[in-house]
């Protein structure tokens, strides 16, 4: 409101100054009114915008006509003065228009600048928040690392001792121990071994979260072969019919993806153990051009789809450890690795009707 008053005030003021100058100049027989009023309108339009510019224009025209066009001191315009008055008006209008346009442009610029400034402030606040979060994350990560380190170092030692001395007891004092005691010793050893495996698997699992992924082009075909030779010992003496389709290459961390296939293949081998003839089928089911989907199907003991959500959790097991050994970390590891690669894992199964595990990976750049 105040600024509007000021702007129109500027228009009136500049026109008044022009009038005073013109009248003073007239005394000295010097005609300056044309220039003076033009300047006044220009100033008003330039600094105050269209409205004040128009006000200045009207005022200037009236005053020009009143004081400087014959007949003087009337608002009457003679025919001979019409062209001159029109030129004056045309000039004034042009000036007003220019001024107004400039002002509008300036206003836009100012608005953009303010917007930008606001955005910069917001960004700055966001950045600060981000830096804070990242600091917190780093601290958490450090803590986690320290935790994993002491698990790896401190927890393994007592287990090794339990296993070691029990083993020595079994070896050196077998003659003085009765059958029951021997059985207990075996149980202690089994438990110690299991604890050791659990710690190792848990550490491997936590390492996947912390380790950097070194991505290269990886042949899934080759990884499957490696996974097969890894489980060769379990396969020994069993009747397994492998059906391996043609598998594509992908872009990912080789050792991590290898772990995925080793886990899935050894699961397939493990859970078909009760079958006289195991069928394990690995193929690429490629319907989406941007994605690789690999499926691993077996005719093993399967699972109830009602527990499908628990399948990929840490320490989640659907079978007793007597039936099928394992720590319950394998599929959690698989899921973690695939998620780190931006893919998805899922499974289908039927109790006693086999299971199929799928994982997807986005198609590699450049393959």
């Amino acid at each position: 409101m105040k600024s509007a008053f000021r702007r129109y005030g500027l228009a009136v003021f500049s026109v008044s100054v022009a009038l005073v100058i013109s009248l003073v100049m007239q005394r000295f027989n010097f005609r300056a009114e044309f220039t003076a009023f033009l300047l006044a309108v220009a100033v008003a339009a330039w600094y105050a915008g269209l409205g004040p510019g128009l006000v200045a224009l009207v005022l200037s025209s009236v005053l020009f006509d009143y004081f400087f066009l014959e007949p003087f001191y009337t608002l009457y315009v003679t025919a001979s003065d019409v062209p001159r008055f029109l030129v004056f008006l045309a000039f004034l209008s042009l000036l007003t228009w220019f001024g107004a346009v400039r002002r509008r442009v300036e206003q836009h610029l100012r608005q953009s600048r303010d917007d930008l400034e606001r955005e910069v402030m917001q960004r700055r606040a966001l950045n600060q928040e981000l830096a804070k979060r990242s600091g917190e994350l780093q601290a958490t990560n450090k803590e986690l690392e320290a935790f994993a380190y002491s698990v790896s170092h401190d927890l393994r030692a007592p287990i090794r001792h339990i296993a070691g001395f029990t083993e020595l007891l079994q070896k050196n004092s077998a003659s003085v121990l009765d059958e029951r005691a021997q059985r207990h010793i075996t149980m202690i050893l089994e438990s110690a071994k299991r604890m050791g495996n659990l710690i190792d698997d848990l550490l491997a699992f936590s390492r996947i979260g912390r380790a950097e992924a070194h991505k290269t082009i990886v042949s899934l075909q080759q990884l499957v072969q490696e996974a097969q030779s890894e489980v060769a010992q379990e396969v020994n003496g069993r009747n397994i019919n492998w059906k391996i389709g043609k598998l594509p290459s992908c872009y990912g961390d080789r050792s991590m993806l290898r772990l995925v296939l080793v886990n899935l293949v050894s699961n397939a081998v493990k859970f078909t153990r009760t079958r006289p003839r195991a069928e394990i089928e690995i193929e690429s089911t490629n319907h989406n051009p941007d994605q690789i989907v690999i499926s691993i199907r077996d005719n093993g003991v399967g699972f109830d789809m009602k527990y499908v959500n628990r399948l990929f959790g840490v320490f989640q097991r659907l079978h007793t450890s007597e039936a099928f050994e394992g720590t319950g970390i394998g599929l959690a590891t698989v899921q973690r690795i695939i998620h780190r690669h931006g893919g998805r894992v899922w499974a289908e199964g039927l109790v006693d009707g086999g299971a199929t595990f799928y994982f997807s990976l986005s198609k590699s750049e450049g393959v």
Binding site: H153, R156, H161, E167, L203
Partner: protein, 150 residues
């Protein structure tokens, strides 16, 4: 089995010492094992200070070094050995519970001769210690200045 090198075992945990010695004994590799219970003691031995001021001047044929040690930790011991012209020839084998890549990389950077993670399984542990003992105290020709027992 004519010559046996002397083994310096640096290990703070008495249970681990006993297990390691048992493993070495089983294969008759233990008649020349000196045990240091922390990093400082290991350095005392190597520099013939304190309790070890009167030991013979020969260096051990191999040093089995745990990483997590009281007083001076294993990596520091390793660094001091490899920084010292007189000691740097002694083969050092890190024998640790740590699976951490960081420890492994640091050890190799400092010039360790081998890095062995103690297996949890006793048989594997005995095997690992046995192989280490056989290789470093028997098969390997230690650098000049190491003790060899006939």
């Amino acid at each position: 089995m004519s010559t046996l090198g002397r083994i310096l075992l640096v290990e703070d945990d008495p249970k681990d010492v006993e297990l390691t010695l048992t493993a070495l004994e089983d294969y008759k590799l233990a008649n020349e094992v000196v045990v240091a219970h922390d990093g400082a003691e290991a350095l005392d031995y190597l520099y013939r200070r304190g309790n070890f001021a009167n030991r013979s001047t020969d260096n051990p044929a191999v040093l089995l070094l745990d990483l997590k040690l009281p007083k001076v930790d294993g990596l520091e011991v390793l660094q001091q050995i490899k920084d010292d012209a007189k000691l740097k020839l002694i083969p050092v084998v890190v024998l640790t519970s740590s699976h951490e890549e960081r420890d492994m990389v640091t050890s190799y950077k400092l010039g360790v001769n081998a890095y062995v993670v103690k297996p949890v399984d006793f048989h594997e542990f005995v095997n690992a210690v046995k192989e280490l003992g056989v290789f470093w105290a028997l098969v390997n020709e230690p650098p000049p200045g190491s003790v060899k027992k006939d």
